[in-house]
Symmetry: C2
Subunit: 184 residues, 2 copies
DNA sequence: AAGATATGTCAATATGGCTGACATAAATAT
DNA sequence: ATATTTATGTCAGCCATATTGACATATCTT
């Protein structure tokens, strides 16, 4: 039946160093393995939440909004747009649903009354925590084998994978960059 | 102006262990930090290719198809569907474009003439290599600080993040699982 | 010859992006 | 005080990519 010879990935026409040692490819060699691992890891990572979300009639977009509003209470709409890198029109539909269904509430800014500061409601907190629980289970399983030091290495790797130029508010918070968010 | 107090992420109502040591959260604590890092890291990782793809009139879907066809020459359509976890209708349009524009070719299977085995053309190889080059640059930058041992830790982590039940052909190849792909 | 399998295609629908245009309220600048 | 800019919201339409269901064809298996 199955007769595809898929046992060994091809290195491609550009495999300038096909026989390099597995851990340390030469300069110029492409990181096919890690590229592929990232694809599968992320696919299954977000897949955990997808199933739960479906039961609520939500999608990944709702999850992302709820996640960041939960994590950074009082987030402004404009900040959310920076973080998610979508337009306000795209955010609009998703955010409206979350507001209408009581997962998020808006509060008018104290200093600038034009702003709508976003907060997760208890209902929203419960959902986002449930989703994070599923993903945490997967992360804990993956981390179990590499220990605390390995976990810190993974964190360091992931941080270094992120663009640091033009960081949004959330990234500034994550990286504790030179200019911490000004306080009210 | 900016008056959002975003400097410290909230742990949420479920923060059963808000003061846990940073490297080793207690059982039950949610991995908010790694969840978030994965989001940003993957966002920027795929973002590299997005810009290039635009110039070709392609999207991420084309990239994924081209990547796996390149990496596993002779991949069957059915295998591709398993890997990408999309329907054949969704794959259809994207694959047709790649075929029409000469990035991929089909060859009739030798043993089973119903099968259409997929191969990247030189044109396709060139594009996928260019895209992988961009992503490799980012990976190499991220890896520079953690060394070969750290890189292996990251690989181990990513592998462990991937579902192992019901693996598709590609995952069998990656994990070299008990049942290597049957050969023709 | 019958049935199962691999692939392709038509049609309709949903999600989540996008651009452009426009409206309102509130802050800021002149 | 008026003008401009900013933060947000909304209407309308478009696009990419995913979905389901139905059906067609060629080919392999029984």
């Amino acid at each position: 039946m199955a007769d595809i010879n898929i046992s060994r990935p091809a290195a491609g026409p550009d495999s300038r160093a096909a026989e390099a040692s597995p851990g340390a490819p030469r300069a110029g060699e492409l990181r096919w393995d890690i590229i592929e691992l990232l694809f599968f890891a992320y696919r299954d990572f977000v897949g955990d939440a997808d199933q739960e979300l479906e039961a609520f009639g939500f999608g990944r977009a709702h999850h992302r909004v709820l996640h960041f509003v939960h994590r950074y209470p009082g987030l402004k709409v404009a900040d959310l747009l920076d973080v998610l890198r979508i337009t306000k029109q795209s955010l609009g539909r998703v955010l409206k649903q979350l507001l209408d269904e009581g997962y998020i509430i808006q509060k008018t800014g104290n200093n600038d009354r034009r702003q709508r500061l976003l907060y997760a409601t208890p209902k929203g907190e419960a959902l986002v925590a449930r989703l994070a629980g599923l993903q945490t289970d997967r992360i804990n399983r993956a981390i179990a084998d590499i220990g605390p030091a390995g976990t810190e290495t993974v964190r360091q790797f992931l941080r270094a994978m992120i663009d640091r130029d033009d960081p949004d508010k959330v990234l500034e918070a994550i990286f504790g960059s030179g200019k911490p968010a000004t306080r009210a």
